[in-house]
């Protein structure tokens, strides 16, 4: 499952991400092991806005497609 598949209001845990992703993502707080929640999304789910580490970060769908997640229970 990827971040782009997360339904509105649901939480998940970020998994190990590929090295090609912008490091800024990490520096803004979105990193493996953190809990992430889809807070709101624009029409067609693009862009999407997530809460992670207490910050609201929005990103485009094509980036969210690259971030693997798992359900919080799997931890």
């Amino acid at each position: 499952m990827f971040l782009s598949d997360l339904p509105l209001g649901q939480r998940a845990i970020v998994l190990q991400t590929p090295d090609s992703l912008p490091v800024k993502l990490f520096e803004m707080g979105c990193m493996p092991g953190e809990e992430i929640e889809l807070v709101f999304a624009a029409p067609f789910q693009d862009p999407m806005c997530f809460r992670v580490q207490g910050t609201l970060i929005s990103m485009r769908r094509d980036l969210a497609k690259l971030i693997p997640i798992t359900s919080p229970d799997a931890r």
Binding site: K24, E27, V39, F40, A42, P47, C49, T55, S58
Partner: protein, 670 residues
């Protein structure tokens, strides 16, 4: 008096932490807006006396999430902090942290500390922390960080004295380092330190990773992968530890009204309704709100002009002042109401946190054009006037997007085109009904639509053609909603207006005087400045000759020499077209209907029919829709892009486009 060296203090922190509020508090209105060397990014500094004999120069650095460069913002901050030349070196750092969102703020601050700079942490949003039941054990945190931690309230000024004191006393932290590279990274770092003889590891780390990223230095060994990622993970682990130990939040009191507000504000339907409502308000405000002050300025300067004519002996000087200098000054002052209104509006959007939502809502729509939601503001304000619109692009962080927005904004139908459109539409479009609507109204609406379509299409084309350097990833923080602070709004308005008057204003005044000269002097006739009317007939002035000289060039567009002269002279401003036509047709009063009647009587000597046919009219309308016929726009573009070349190329390209479109339209209609 010898120039005493000021203590250079940099403000470093994440965006939306109240950085500009603190900056305004620390410096007052004594601010200087300049540029960073080599790039068009703005740099604001302010001087203030902090203690007897202590002058502080506060530097407001861009908001960043990390010191590593992902975009120009971080590059600027890193460059400033790594500076070693004595006159450029940063003496003290004030790190900013939003008390309600400490985690990501402490991340950047721990990087700053690792640079070994004397720093103080200012924790803002104190009032909100209390409201939300949050408590920070500042003394314990200070002991762990090895620097002072001060709670401040930028609304009331609470904590500012303590902050100033702490800054003056600050020393490098003794608790370093907060980040320790491991294994391969450490070996690479040791190599960089040795090669560059840099004593401080983190300085070498930042510098080395930046150099490797730019690929400038080939002596530098490539760093092992995941250097920045590992640093981020380690630092967050550290920060989380601190927060667990020193930060308490009461989950019951911590109710977020940001989340509740967002349910409406970014709602797929209501969000758009709110956004378009606000943009409509902006449009109305710029059009009607600025009308009264603009008329006032106009009246005062007209009165000044008359006074000068009456009280000065008639002659060269009186004419220069009343017809060259005063209109030039008017051309500068007239824009102030709109500029002030627009920047008050933008500043309210930014301060409240709504601007990030605008970008979010509009992103999908603006993406194909290479623009983001931020371009909506210049596009909409461009319908009033391109001058404030182009200035408003300053708030864009992405320089590529800013370039696109500046390039296409002059295509949007501004209010100066309206008199020209009104005159020409009244002349060549019949006053009949079309699908139940007045045909003239439909044409005017069509011209507005054409402006938007041309601007967006132009941007999309440029976006396609322009070599795309690595564009920073679209990662945008949605800040919590906050009440805007009046002080910050006023400061923004004041700084923008001041820089417009002192910088673009000079160019506008100069162009106005040059054009006055070209209209008042001619090669074959000595101007007579003693009479009431123009010093010489316009067709015998340099502008007149220029108009006649380009008549053959303009002939394919259907323009005769009179129209050509009017087109050339309206380079000052588009609406001058109407006045010039009036002069050329010897109409005394500048009433639209009278000029229109006179123009309607004009006969084409070749055909014996009325000269202003539908073909000529449409050709002229399209020419004015595309051409950059505005000296002030030219001046502002040159000033904002720091490049006359940009402005000249834009002028030529838009001129060529106008010519081409008008030509095709004329050829098809004639």
């Amino acid at each position: 008096m010898p120039d005493k060296k000021a203590l250079r203090i940099a403000l470093v922190g994440r965006p939306n932490t109240g950085k500009s509020s603190l900056f305004n508090r620390l410096t007052g209105l004594n601010q200087k807006v300049g540029n960073y060397p080599g790039i068009t990014m703005e740099r604001t500094t302010g001087l203030a006396k902090w203690a007897p004999g202590v002058l502080a120069e506060v530097i407001d650095l861009p908001g960043v999430y990390s010191l590593h460069a992902s975009s120009t913002d971080e590059e600027v901050v890193m460059e400033a902090l790594l500076q070693e030349a004595p006159e450029e070196r940063i003496d003290r750092v004030i790190g900013l942290a939003d008390g309600t969102n400490l985690k990501t703020c402490l991340f950047v601050f721990s990087q700053v500390l690792d640079l070994g700079l004397p720093a103080v942490l200012a924790v803002t949003m104190r009032d909100e922390m209390e409201r939300r039941g949050m408590e920070l054990k500042t003394e314990e945190l200070a002991a762990t960080l090895g620097c002072a931690v001060i709670l401040v309230n930028t609304r009331t000024g609470e904590g500012l004295d303590a902050l100033r004191e702490a800054v003056l006393r600050a020393e490098p932290s003794g608790k370093l380092p907060f980040f320790q590279p491991g294994g391969l990274h450490l070996r690479w770092l040791a190599q960089v330190q040795e090669d560059q003889s840099m004593a401080l590891p983190y300085r070498a780390w930042l510098w080395g990773l930046k150099e490797a990223q730019v690929g400038k230095s080939d002596r530098l060994q490539q760093p092992p992968p995941r250097a920045r990622t590992d640093e981020a993970i380690q630092r967050y682990r550290q920060v989380n530890q601190w927060l667990r130990a020193f930060f308490v939040a009461d989950p019951v009191k911590d109710r977020r009204w940001t989340a509740r507000l967002d349910r409406v504000v970014v709602h797929p339907i209501w969000g758009s309704v709110i956004l378009f409502g606000l943009l409509f308000l902006l449009f109305q405000g710029l059009f009607y709100g600025s009308e009264a002050p603009m008329n006032f300025i106009d009246d005062q300067l007209a009165a000044l002009s008359t006074w000068l004519t009456d009280h000065l002996p008639s002659g060269f000087l009186a004419h220069l002042l009343s017809h060259g200098v005063v209109p030039g000054i008017a051309g500068v002052l007239m824009f102030i109401p709109q500029i002030a209104l627009l920047f008050a509006f933008i500043s309210l959007l930014e301060e409240s946190g709504y601007m990030a939502r605008v970008v979010f809502i509009m992103d999908r729509f603006m993406r194909p054009f290479g623009l983001s939601g931020k371009s909506v503001v210049p596009m909409v304000s461009g319908t009033a006037c391109a001058i404030p619109a182009i200035m408003s692009t300053r708030n864009m962080e992405n320089s590529r997007e800013r370039f696109l927005a500046i390039a296409v904004t002059p295509l949007i139908t501004c209010s100066a085109r309206l008199p020209v459109y009104a005159l020409l539409i009244g002349l060549v479009i019949p006053n009949s009904a079309w699908m139940g609507m007045n045909l003239r109204g439909v044409v005017l609406l069509g011209l507005y639509a054409l402006g938007f379509v041309a601007a967006l299409a132009g941007s999309a084309l440029l976006h396609r053609w322009m070599p795309a350097k690595k564009t920073p990833a679209f990662l945008l923080e949605m800040p919590p909603y906050r009440w805007p602070q009046g002080r910050n709004v006023l400061t923004a308005v004041w700084n923008r207006t001041k820089s417009f008057v002192t910088e673009a204003g000079k160019i506008i005044l100069a162009i106005s005087i040059i054009l006055w000269f070209l209209a008042s002097f001619g090669p074959n006739r000595t101007p007579d400045f003693t009479q009431e009317r123009a010093p010489l007939p316009i067709e015998e002035s340099y502008i007149g000759y220029a108009g006649k000289a380009i008549e053959p060039v303009m002939a394919p567009l259907g323009f005769d020499w009179k129209v050509s002269v009017a087109v050339v002279s309206s380079f000052v401003a588009r609406e001058v077209f109407v006045g010039t036509m009036a002069t050329l047709y010897s109409v005394d009063d500048e009433d639209n209907t009278t000029i229109r009647a006179q123009m309607a009587r004009e006969v084409n000597p070749r055909t014996g029919q009325p000269y202003f046919t539908l073909a000529v009219g449409v050709s002229l309308l399209l020419f004015y829709a595309f051409a950059m016929q505005c000296a002030s726009t030219f001046a502002v573009v040159a000033r904002e892009t720091k490049s006359y070349r940009f402005a000249v190329i834009q002028f030529i390209v838009l001129g060529a486009l106008a010519y081409g479109v008008a030509w095709i339209a004329y050829a098809m209609l004639v």
